[in-house]
C-alpha cells in the first residue's frame, strides 16, 4: 500500500468526536442486549485506526459531480453497514469477519485486449498515481443510500497505464476469491457463483466520475468497504461498485456480472439508478438516506442516474433504459 505521511490531513477531519463517542455507547448497548437478540449489532474486534492517506481535497463545486454538500454518513455507519456477501449476509457481518482477509501483498492481474497484460503489485500501480477526494452519493439497489467521502483516482488513469486495444469494448472486474479467509464463500446455502464479477462498457469505465477508491474519510479503506482497492460508480446501484479487485479484463463482448447471472429480471448489466424501473420485489422510487433513525426515517425521492444525469445521461442517448436496466 502507498502510505505517505499524513501531512495535510488533520485527524480531527476524520472522525468527529461525536461519532467516536457514539461507538462506545454502541458497544455498551450491544452488550446489554446480547443475551436476548439473535443477531445483536456489535463491532467485531476493536478496529484499529487505519493509516491516513495523502490526497488532494475535493473542490467544493457540485457541477462536476465530484462533490456534494449533502450531509456525510458518519464514518462508523459506513464501516458497520455493508453488503459484502463474501463475509456474510448481514449488514454487520463484513465489519465482524473481514479482518480475516489479508490484503498485503496485493496484486491485480490485467488480461484480455490490452497492450500490457500481466500481474502487477498494487503499490507499483499506485506509485504512478495521485490520490484525490470525491464526495459521492451511493445508492444501493435495496433502496438505501449514503453520502461517502472517498479517496482514490479515476479508473481512466489506471486503464491508460495498460493501454487497451481498439477491440476492448467492455471491462470486467473480479473480486478476491479466497474461501479460507472469506467465510461467506464457504456458505453452503448461498446461490451466488463465486467469485463476484462486475463489468462496465469501456466508455462508462473511462467516464471521469468512475472512480477506484483506496480510502475513505482520509484513511486507508477498511476491509469491509473493499480494501485495498474497489470500484465506485456513483450513478449505478451499489452492487456495480465491486470490492477488493484482483483482476481486470478487457473484452470485446459484454461480460457476465454476478447479480445479473443470478437473477437477470431483477438486476441488469447497466443497473443505472432509475426510479422509473421497479425492482420486481420493491419500489425504486424513493430511498432511505442513512443514517435513518427510529425517529426520522429520512426517506427521499430517488433521482435518475442518482443525480448524476448531467454528467452521464449522454452515455445512454438513444438507448431504451427500461429495456437496458
Amino acid at each position: 500500500m502507498l502510505i505517505k505521511k499524513p501531512s495535510d490531513v488533520l485527524s480531527s477531519d476524520i472522525t468527529p468526536e461525536k461519532v467516536y463517542l457514539k461507538r462506545r455507547q454502541f458497544m455498551a448497548g450491544s452488550l446489554l442486549s446480547a443475551g436476548v437478540m439473535a443477531a445483536p449489532f456489535s463491532v467485531g474486534a476493536e478496529q484499529q485506526i487505519l493509516p491516513a492517506l495523502r490526497y488532494k481535497k475535493v473542490t467544493e463545486d457540485s457541477s462536476t459531480g465530484y462533490y456534494t454538500n449533502e450531509m456525510l454518513a458518519p464514518y462508523d455507519d459506513i464501516k458497520q453497514y455493508n453488503n459484502f456477501y463474501e463475509f456474510g449476509m448481514n449488514k454487520d457481518d463484513p465489519a465482524r469477519y473481514s479482518e480475516a482477509m489479508s490484503i498485503d501483498p496485493w496484486s491485480i492481474t490485467i488480461e484480455g485486449a490490452v497492450e500490457k497484460p500481466g500481474t502487477f503489485a498494487l503499490e507499483d500501480i499506485l506509485s504512478k498515481i495521485d490520490l484525490e477526494e470525491r464526495i459521492y452519493r451511493l445508492r444501493c439497489v435495496e433502496a438505501w443510500s449514503m453520502v461517502i467521502p472517498w479517496v482514490g483516482f479515476p479508473l481512466a488513469d489506471l486503464i491508460k497505464q495498460f493501454q487497451p486495444l481498439s477491440n476492448a469494448k467492455y471491462v470486467q472486474f473480479v473480486t478476491l476469491n479466497r474461501p479460507s479467509e472469506m467465510r461467506g464463500l464457504r456458505s453452503r446455502t448461498s446461490i451466488i457463483d463465486w467469485p463476484y464479477v462486475e463489468g462496465l462498457r469501456i466508455d462508462e469505465a473511462m467516464n471521469p466520475l468512475t472512480f477506484l477508491a483506496t480510502g475513505l474519510y482520509g484513511r486507508q479503506l477498511p476491509k469491509q468497504n473493499g480494501a485495498p482497492i474497489r470500484l465506485v460508480v456513483p450513478w449505478k446501484y451499489g452492487f456495480k461498485s465491486i470490492k477488493s479487485i484482483v483482476k481486470i479484463r478487457f473484452l470485446e463482448k459484454q461480460p457476465a456480472t454476478s447479480w445479473n447471472t443470478l437473477q437477470s429480471s431483477e438486476y441488469g448489466f447497466y443497473a443505472n439508478v432509475n426510479p422509473e424501473v421497479e425492482h420486481p420485489r420493491w419500489s425504486q422510487k424513493s430511498e432511505r438516506r442513512l443514517p435513518s433513525t427510529f425517529f426520522s426515517p429520512n426517506r427521499m425521492l430517488t433521482e435518475p442516474f442518482n443525480g448524476y444525469g448531467e454528467q452521464v445521461a449522454s452515455l445512454y442517448s438513444g438507448m431504451d433504459l427500461r429495456k437496458f436496466y
Binding site: S187, T189, F294
Partner: protein, 199 residues
C-alpha cells in the same frame, strides 16, 4: 408454578424492550427502520413457531400444563406481527396509501404477509374463554387457520431471500416439522378409527 404465567408474559416482552432500547439510543445500526422491520418480523415468526410447538410438546411430555401458555404465545405472535406491519408502514412505505396499494398489488410477498396478519385477527378476537365456549367444536376448526398463517408467513420470508437461503431454510424446516407432526397424528387417528372387519 403460580408465578410462571406472569414470568413468561414478561419474558415475551424482552425482545420488544431490547429493540426499543436500541432504537431510542441509536444502537440499531445505520438503517434503524429497516432493522426494526426485520427484527419484529423475525420475532413474530419465532412466536408463531413457539405457539405451534405447544401441542406437540404436550403430547411428548404428557404434561398438559404447557397448554396454558398457548394463548399467550399466540397473542404475542400477532402482537409482534402488528409491530412488524407498523414498522413496514412507517419506515418502508412512509404511511402513503398510494405506495401501500402499489406494493400490495405488485409485490406478492407483501400481499402474503398482510394476508397472514389478517388471518390472525379472527383468532385473536376469539381467543377469550367466552368465545371458546360459545363456538364449541367450531373453535378448534377456526383456529386451525393458524396453519395457513404459518405457511403464508414462511412463503413471505422465503420470497424475500436475495442470494442465501440459510436462515429461511432453518425457519421453514422447523415449521415443516411442526406441521407434519400434526399430519402424522391425524393420519394415525384415522387409521385407528377405521372399522376393522372381522374375517
Amino acid at each position: 408454578m403460580m408465578y410462571a404465567k406472569p414470568l413468561i408474559f414478561t419474558a415475551c416482552l424482552i425482545p420488544l424492550a431490547a429493540l426499543l432500547y436500541q432504537a431510542v439510543t441509536g444502537n440499531l445500526g445505520a438503517d434503524a427502520g429497516k432493522a426494526l422491520v426485520l427484527q419484529t418480523g423475525e420475532w413474530s415468526f419465532r412466536f408463531l413457531l413457539l405457539s405451534l410447538a405447544v401441542t406437540p410438546l404436550r403430547q411428548l411430555t404428557k404434561k398438559s400444563v404447557i397448554l396454558r401458555y398457548r394463548r399467550m404465545l399466540g397473542l404475542y405472535t400477532w402482537f409482534y406481527a402488528s409491530l412488524h406491519l407498523m414498522a413496514v408502514l412507517t419506515y418502508l412505505l412512509g404511511w402513503s396509501w398510494a405506495i401501500f396499494v402499489e406494493e400490495f398489488s405488485e409485490r406478492p410477498y407483501m400481499a402474503l404477509g398482510i394476508i397472514a396478519w389478517t388471518l390472525m385477527v379472527p383468532l385473536v378476537l376469539t381467543s377469550n374463554q367466552w368465545a371458546q365456549r360459545k363456538l364449541g367444536r367450531r373453535w378448534k376448526t377456526l383456529h386451525q387457520l393458524v396453519y395457513a398463517t404459518g405457511v403464508l408467513a414462511c412463503a413471505h420470508f422465503i420470497w424475500l431471500v436475495r442470494s442465501d437461503y440459510g436462515e429461511a431454510l432453518i425457519y421453514s424446516s422447523i415449521l415443516l416439522i411442526l406441521l407434519s407432526l400434526r399430519l402424522i397424528k391425524k393420519y394415525r387417528s384415522v387409521v385407528a378409527r377405521r372399522p376393522t372387519r372381522a374375517l
